[in-house]
């Protein structure tokens, strides 16, 4: 479904991504891990059209989407959550999701219909009780759920989750983990997931890709990469390999 | 610096080439064209000085101080009235500097710091309000009659029957000296470094123990100080009235977008380019188009290449 070929991106003198190639197949949950600064969020930004890669191509469902604008990519079927949550702070939770519904899809939809669907999505993630709260007042757990609800509301075929568990306590981590599984099983959405909370990735991901300093250093099932020498070296250093 | 030198070289080369071309093409009028260009350069030096205060404030505090022009005019008025009463001498010219510096500190600490903490639009609107207040105040205090000091001074004769006035040369030299001293101040003194650090990254500067609020106010005050310097020179050469603010603001902004923000040499280079283009444009299209040429260039650069020619970093 998603194919990245040889993505390279530098910012001035800093090379953030160096020839990264990977593939995410339909129906998978693929994890993307790596030490801080390895280029995970940059890769997401490139896929979503926020950055244009210096070299390389991004294919989505066979179509070249490299360098297209974010709102076009959203309408094509890629949804995304942000690492540092970006809610529309002065709008209510319901309005946040309605906005995503009204603009994130390629088909036209009326306001009343959008409202109904927004309520449905809030129900799916478990935020129905907060629908009239102003987004700026929510706590981090609810904000993360809102991010997911918004992304789902655009009816994506591929969902990019960027550190969606950061800052959550263990109970919330397992809740969100189950939610992500439901997204795949009930909605049939493919998931590409950056995460630092290893427990969650190891539990839910089918496959894991590891980046270090802008390069892909390993790929495989969670068990394989947990014992991979290169991965251990990247995270903990040489002596532990 | 290393990257900009070739650009400056290229620019100088272009100017020389165009002069040579002009000379061969319009032999009789080449002298006047050359004089226009030289006058443009001298004027440009002054524009660079005007721009520098604005550039400093913009680069360090990220405020577009749209009342900068009004402060230049205020400095001009102070210099003018002192000169009328006590004659033109270095003391009267320098008198406006401390006054505007203190005013800058007060405004910076009370209004601007608060405005900056509220958002991006607020400082601009506050400065807008200030420009309105200043204009009205100056008009009330000193009426709308245009003012100017006329110092009879000779000039250097130039081929074609024109001449380059000594006053223009003095102003140009003062501008360059002023800019160089600012550059040295920013580079070598402790406070200068603190200012540059705050301009580059406020959070890090704060962590290094720099009182960012005071430094921001200081940067604002320095901007007004430079406006005062420009103002003193204004009273010697131009005629001005309370509504002259936009004239200076426009040229300062234009010089900045041409030369890049926060870059001392860039402000000077931008000012010179602007001075030359304005002078040539005015001689071709008529004096009434002077302001419009400047504003149009400013708009054009914003639309086409907002980073400027010598930008060290992109503040946009």
């Amino acid at each position: 479904m998603l194919v990245c070929k040889d993505i390279t991106k530098s910012f001035g003198g800093l090379v953030a991504l160096r020839g990264v190639s990977l593939e995410v197949k339909k129906g998978e949950i693929v994890g993307l891990i790596g030490p801080n600064g390895s280029g995970k969020t940059t890769l997401f930004n490139v896929i979503c059209g926020i950055y244009r890669p210096d070299k390389g191509v991004v294919y989505f469902k066979g179509e070249d989407i490299t360098g297209r604008k974010p709102y076009e990519i959203c309408k094509l079927g890629i949804g995304r959550t942000f690492q540092l949550v970006k809610p529309f702070k002065t709008m209510t939770v319901l309005e946040n999701v309605m906005t995503a519904i009204l603009f994130g899809r390629s088909k036209f939809i009326t306001m009343t219909e959008a409202r109904k669907q927004a309520l449905k999505w809030l129900d799916f993630v478990g935020l129905s009780g907060m629908k009239d709260k102003v987004a700026g007042e929510l706590g981090i757990a609810s904000l993360r759920l809102l991010e997911i609800a918004r992304a789902l509301a655009t009816e994506p075929e591929l969902l990019l989750l960027d550190e969606v568990m950061a800052g959550l306590n263990p109970v919330e981590v397992s809740r969100v983990g189950d939610l992500i599984e439901r997204v795949r099983s009930d909605l049939g959405i493919t998931i590409f997931w950056v995460e630092h909370v290893m427990r969650a990735i190891m539990k839910h991901a089918d496959r894991v890709i590891v980046l270090d300093r802008g390069e892909k250093i390993a790929e495989g099932t969670p068990k394989e990469i947990a014992y991979d020498e290169k991965v251990i070296k990247a995270y903990l250093g040489e002596p532990y390999a | 610096m290393k990257k900009t030198l070739p650009l400056i070289f290229l620019f100088a080369l272009l100017v020389i080439l165009s002069c040579v071309l002009a000379y061969t093409v319009l032999k009789e009028r080449a002298g006047i064209l050359l004089a226009t260009i030289v006058n443009g350069v001298l004027l440009g030096g002054f524009y660079g000085l005007t721009a520098m205060g604005l550039s400093l404030v913009l680069g360090i505090t990220r405020i577009i101080n749209v009342c900068h022009g009004e402060f230049v005019v205020l400095g001009a008025y102070i210099g003018y009235w002192l000169a009328i009463s006590y004659g033109v001498n270095p003391m009267t010219l320098i008198a406006s500097l401390p006054i505007l510096f203190i005013v800058g500190l007060v405004i910076g600490k009370t209004m601007m710091n608060r405005a900056v903490s509220m958002g991006v639009d607020q400082p601009l609107l506050v400065a807008f309000g200030l420009s309105l207040c200043l204009r009205n105040l100056m008009r009330y205090l000193w009426t709308a009659t245009p003012r100017g000091i006329n110092i009879p001074m000779g000039g250097i004769p130039f081929p074609g029957g024109t001449y380059i006035s000594h006053l223009s040369l003095i102003i140009f030299c003062t501008s360059v000296v002023g800019l160089l001293s600012l550059h040295l101040f920013l580079k070598n003194t402790f406070i200068g470094k603190a200012i540059r650090a705050t301009g580059q990254h406020q959070e890090s500067a704060r962590l290094m123990g720099i009182d960012v609020n005071n430094i921001n106010a200081l940067a604002y005050a320095l901007g007004l100080l430079l406006a005062a310097v420009a103002g003193s020179l204004v009273s010697l050469r131009f005629s001005f009235d309370p509504e002259s603010g936009p004239m200076f603001l426009g040229r300062a902004l234009c010089a900045i977008v041409l030369g890049g923000v926060g870059h001392v040499l860039g402000a000077l280079a931008g000012g010179i380019i602007l001075g030359v283009v304005e002078s040539i444009g005015a001689s071709l299209l008529g004096d009434v188009m002077r302001d419009a040429i400047v504003f149009l260039i400013f708009l054009a650069i914003l639309l086409v290449k907002p980073t400027g020619l010598f930008a060290r970093y992109r503040a946009f």
């Binding site: 979503c48 926020i50 604008k69 974010p70 709102y71 959203c74 309408k75 995304r80 942000f82 970006k86 809610p87 529309f88 702070k89 002065t90 709008m91 309005e95 309605m98 906005t99 995503a100 009204l102 603009f103 994130g104 306001m111 959008a114 918004r150 992304a151 655009t154 | 577009i64 209004m111 608060r114 405005a115 509220m118 991006v120 639009d121 607020q122 601009l124 609107l125 506050v126 807008f128 309000g129 309105l132 207040c133 204009r135 009205n136 105040l137 008009r139 009330y140 936009p246 426009g250 009434v288 188009m289 302001d291 419009a292 504003f295 149009l296 708009l299 914003l302 639309l303 907002p306 946009f316």
Partner: protein
């Protein structure tokens, strides 16, 4: 909103509008017509600015350019023997064309759009002065019709009502949600499908067209234009003042702001004479720093806080 709600709300609005429309004919007071014509003019400008500045979040400091170009275009169209209504619309269209030229400024951060528009009135004024044989230059240009204050009054009333209606429909539509979204977080908005540039462009063109219409109304009302008055800084500052004092991003904000502005500018000249602009500037700065949401904004916040406290208390009782 339910159908019934829409009906009785429109009726509620129609009453004051109808009374304002018929008032001059009943009262026969020249001062009334003068005062309210000015009020409607400024209200139109404030509401139009509110669309771009209050809702789309792009501060425009050059309203005078669009206003002036509308006024002059109407005059020149009349002189070219175009029918009256076509000339009026021509004013709006000319202002929109000017707006088209500055669309590339949206690529920059908001404040650079603001200063890009700052000198627009001066540029247009210079062109008006340059082509003085057509525009009358510094001497000004007269309306080739007999000046009819009542027609101007009615037209200005219509324009201001139109502007407010446009704001209302825009804000309550999906585009209202989109505008709030990109104002809160443009990157997130773009990621969820909102084309921010297109949205801002639509707001800009709407604003420009309405300012152009206001300019036409001004020309109709004054019967005479001269470049120094028409492109004066006041026309650029007034909408900013009105919207900030009244409250940006609200429908009642410009209404409150324009009333305050018109009343103040009449009264202040009596009280402080020469210094009235100084007072305006001072008020503007004070409001920006101390009450950034304006009067209507502050009231809204107070009332929502009050409602929340009240709800919390009533929950506590049960």
């Amino acid at each position: 909103m339910l159908r019934a709600e829409v009906y009785w709300k429109s009726l509620l609005l129609a009453i004051p509008i109808a009374s304002l429309a018929s008032a001059p004919f009943l009262l026969k007071s020249a001062y009334f017509v003068h005062f309210f014509s000015l009020l409607f003019l400024f209200l139109a400008l404030a509401s139009a600015w509110n669309i771009l500045g209050g809702y789309a979040g792009q501060v425009c400091l050059g309203t005078g350019a669009f206003f002036g170009i509308g006024a002059y275009s109407m005059m020149l169209s009349l002189k070219a023997n175009l029918p009256l209504y076509a000339s009026i619309i021509a004013g709006g269209i000319a202002a929109s064309c000017l707006a088209l030229l500055i669309i590339p400024l949206f690529r920059l951060r908001g404040i650079y759009f603001a200063i890009g528009t700052l000198f627009l009135p001066d540029i247009i004024r210079t062109f008006v002065l340059y082509f003085s044989d057509v525009t009358g230059g510094a001497m000004g240009i007269y309306l080739p019709l007999i000046r009819d204050p009542l027609f101007a009054y009615t037209f200005l009333l219509a324009v201001s009502v139109c502007t407010i209606l446009v704001t209302h429909f825009l804000v309550n539509s999906r585009y209202g949600l989109a505008m709030r979204a990109i104002r809160d977080d443009q990157d997130a908005g773009e990621m969820y499908g909102i084309n921010a540039t297109k949205l801002k462009t639509v707001c800009l063109l709407t604003y420009a067209f309405l300012c152009g219409l206001a300019g036409s109304g001004y020309a109709l009302y004054m019967g005479f234009l001269d470049p120094y008055t028409v492109f004066h800084l006041t026309w650029s500052i007034a909408p900013v003042f009105m919207c900030i004092i009244g409250g940006q991003g609200t429908i009642w904000g410009p209404i409150v702001g324009s009333i305050i502005y018109v009343v103040l500018s009449e009264q202040l000249t009596f009280i402080v004479g020469e210094l009235h602009l100084l007072v305006f500037g001072g008020i503007l700065i004070a409001v920006i720093l101390l009450a950034p949401y304006g009067i209507v904004g502050a009231l809204k916040r107070l009332s929502s806080n009050f409602v929340r406290e009240w709800k919390a208390c009533s929950y506590a009782k049960t």
